[in-house]
């Protein structure tokens, strides 16, 4: 875990105090809403459908027990006893009162947290692999790089008013769990032929109304060149990114309009100038940051209770089959805690559940927690011998749902239940799908499947990269849900393709059921996943099952 320095603490406390003054001036009428709006957005405060929403940064999804407990306390003291973990590894409070937000920011500052740059046309909170520093398949820990990027991008004076928001993700594994190909900049930690550390840099990925897969701008960037190179990309974007049309303002459009070679040339020219400005101080900072991310002191103990309990308890056994991921240390496991109990709102956790997670992490996961972009909580370092106790503690908190990677482990933005941009609800669809397939007792036989649901074209629910994507729109004054198939947010990046006309709120769950039943008959065998089957067969047989009447008409 990164520990705040005195500088960090002072900066965050100062920003909280500044915002207290700004709120006071808004309330006493000194500031108009037009004047106040950019100030509140810089501090993560939105005004949504029913109330204000405060988005708190959890940089690269990493937090400790003390911080999780503080978030639970905020949920109880200033909100309605729950909070929402977002698809950007952040946490959102959906019911704060304006005059109490300064108190919330002050409370956050006491545990080294803030809401800075969780909104606005700036470099947003950096995201990363939620298994960072723990995964068996990891080649290099992305967290020091993510922290370096966080420090560099926080309050960067030149990049406070970009053409549009800007998102950077970092991964250190070949298996891309951080969706790096769909970020403005995606960084992959790699080595060159001589084993030197560096990055593959992708640019121009994104979801939203114009989904695009990031393109590799540099296949190898030396580690010490990272910040000047990022600076060069941002300078080019800041200068030529469009400001005349917000829908064409993201760097993906800049790249698309200018072409990869043009952007590469501009970035290299800027980089040549920037490089000289970096005298190595950034590498000293990186070295200090790395010292914060040493592996915890893993214990040497028997794991026999793990196997014994698996043999004796079928529920525990089921949990271990879906919710564990291999850890670097063979005696340890990474536990993914599902925030998708069947029928629950994806990503929501009660304050009691957040406190339970804080306590469990403190006792059994070296004090560490992660938030995944798939809206689950990770316990990154659990000794296998402790897993029976961890499972029992999770079960008592209603957090032991064994569904990670299955159909009910779907992600969904808050949609029209909260968001003022939404054109339809998304959580109702998520709940409906989870309940339907739980009732059918089919989700384990269906196997790995990622359904992602967005309540508008902005795609916070990542529907473009869902194996099955669902986009909620308004059509003729009612909610209409469009299905896309074949999306993939990993290193095999693919954008899902729309199947055809949308379905009403009443029709969408039966449509998904038809789709899944069709897959079960089409797959070669139980080990062929939905995505593999789709890639083998293409959309045609799935369209037939989605639109049976129409297809039949066409055949006549």
């Amino acid at each position: 875990m990164y520990n705040y320095t005195t500088f960090d603490k002072d900066f965050v406390a100062t920003r909280a105090a500044q915002f207290r003054d700004q709120v006071q001036r808004r309330i006493d009428g000194s500031l108009t809403e037009d004047e106040f709006r950019p100030l509140r957005l810089m501090n993560g405060l939105y005004l949504l459908l029913h109330a204000y929403m405060l988005r708190v940064a959890i940089p690269y999804g990493t937090l400790d027990s003390r911080q999780m407990k503080a978030l639970a306390d905020i949920a109880d003291t200033y909100d309605k006893g729950y909070a929402h973990f977002s698809t950007r590894q952040n946490i959102q409070f959906h019911w704060p009162k304006l005059q109490e937000v300064p108190d919330i920011l002050e409370a956050l500052a006491t545990v080294d947290m803030h809401a800075i740059q969780t909104s606005g046309a700036c470099i947003r909170s950096v995201t990363s692999d939620h298994f960072a520093g723990a995964a068996q398949d990891e080649q290099a820990d992305p967290r020091p790089t993510a922290e370096l990027v966080r420090q560099w991008s926080t309050d960067h004076p030149e990049f406070a008013f970009l053409p549009r928001k800007f998102k950077i993700a970092v991964t250190g594994s070949a298996q891309d769990r951080a969706v790096t190909k769909f970020h403005d900049i995606g960084l992959r930690l790699v080595q060159n032929a001589s084993g030197g550390p560096g990055y593959e840099v992708s640019v121009g990925g994104g979801l939203g109304r114009t989904p695009m897969i990031g393109k590799v701008l540099r296949d190898f960037l030396h580690r010490e060149d990272l910040l000047p190179y990022l600076e060069a990309i941002l300078q080019v974007y800041n200068q030529i990114g469009r400001r005349d049309n917000k829908y064409k303002a993201r760097i993906k459009i800049t790249l698309h309009e200018h072409g990869l070679e043009d952007i590469r040339q501009r970035v290299e020219e800027s980089f040549a100038l920037q490089r000289a400005r970096f005298d190595g101080a950034d590498q000293d900072v990186l070295a200090r940051i790395e010292a914060n991310f040493k592996p915890p002191a893993f214990k040497a103990a028997s794991t026999s209770r793990f196997e014994t309990q698996r043999a004796n308890d079928p529920f525990f056994n089921a949990f271990t089959k879906t919710n564990l991921h291999p850890h670097k240390n063979p005696d340890y496991a990474i536990v993914t805690v599902s925030l998708k109990a069947h029928g629950a709102t994806p990503g929501d956790a009660s304050s009691a559940q957040m406190r339970a997670l804080a306590e469990i992490a403190k006792r059994w996961s070296h004090n560490e927690l992660r938030v995944s972009h798939e809206q689950n909580i990770i316990l990154p370092h659990v000794h296998k011998g402790d897993l029976p106790e961890v499972y029992e503690a999770l079960r008592l908190a209603g957090l032991a749902t064994a569904n990670i990677g299955l159909i009910s482990d779907l992600i969904a933005c808050p949609g029209m239940d909260y968001c003022d941009l939404a054109t339809a609800r998304s959580t109702n669809v998520a709940q409906g799908i989870a309940l339907k397939f739980d009732a059918l007792k089919q989700e384990h036989s269906i196997g790995p499947l990622k359904i992602k649901i967005s309540g508008c074209i902005n795609a916070c629910g990542h529907h473009h990269v869902g194996h099955i994507g669902i986009l909620g729109l308004e059509k003729g004054g009612v909610e209409s849900y469009q299905i896309t198939l074949g999306g993939d947010g990993t290193q095999n990046a693919a954008i899902g393709k729309p199947t055809g006309p949308g379905f009403s709120a009443d029709e969408i769950i039966p449509a998904i059921e038809r789709l899944i039943l069709s897959y079960l008959t089409l797959r070669h065998n139980a080990s062929e996943s939905f995505l593999t089957t789709f890639r083998r067969l293409g959309p045609a047989p799935f369209k037939v099952t989605l639109y049976p009447a129409k297809e039949n008409q066409n055949e006549l």
Partner: protein, 101 residues
């Protein structure tokens, strides 16, 4: 946004709580859509809206919303977005619907 309905209400969010509010006949703000004053589409609601935007610092983002008259003559939302604003999230019994219970 083009409004199709001939009847309109004025709605906004309260500055402090962010709660959805509706303009009443006496110029105050109510948390309940049933208390909203209903305007015929035309100059009058636009005049009220302009006055609110100019001088009412107690609310944020006032706008005209389509409305219809309920069985008891009270204002009812037309669009489903306004229906959610009038009740609260559909995924949780929370917000206005819980306050009214």
């Amino acid at each position: 946004m083009t409004l199709k309905s001939a009847l309109q209400i004025i709605t906004a969010n309260d500055l402090l709580s962010g709660e959805v509010v509706y303009l009443t006949a006496d110029g105050a703000w109510s948390c309940h859509h049933r208390n909203a004053t209903i305007f015929a589409q035309g100059a009058q609601p636009l005049k009220h809206l302009a006055e609110i935007e100019r001088g009412d610092t107690s609310v944020v983002g006032a706008y005209l919303a389509e409305a219809k008259v309920g069985e008891d003559q009270a204002a009812m939302p037309v669009h489903f977005r306004e229906a959610f604003r009038a009740t609260g999230p559909s995924n949780r019994f929370i917000g206005k619907q819980a306050s009214a219970a």
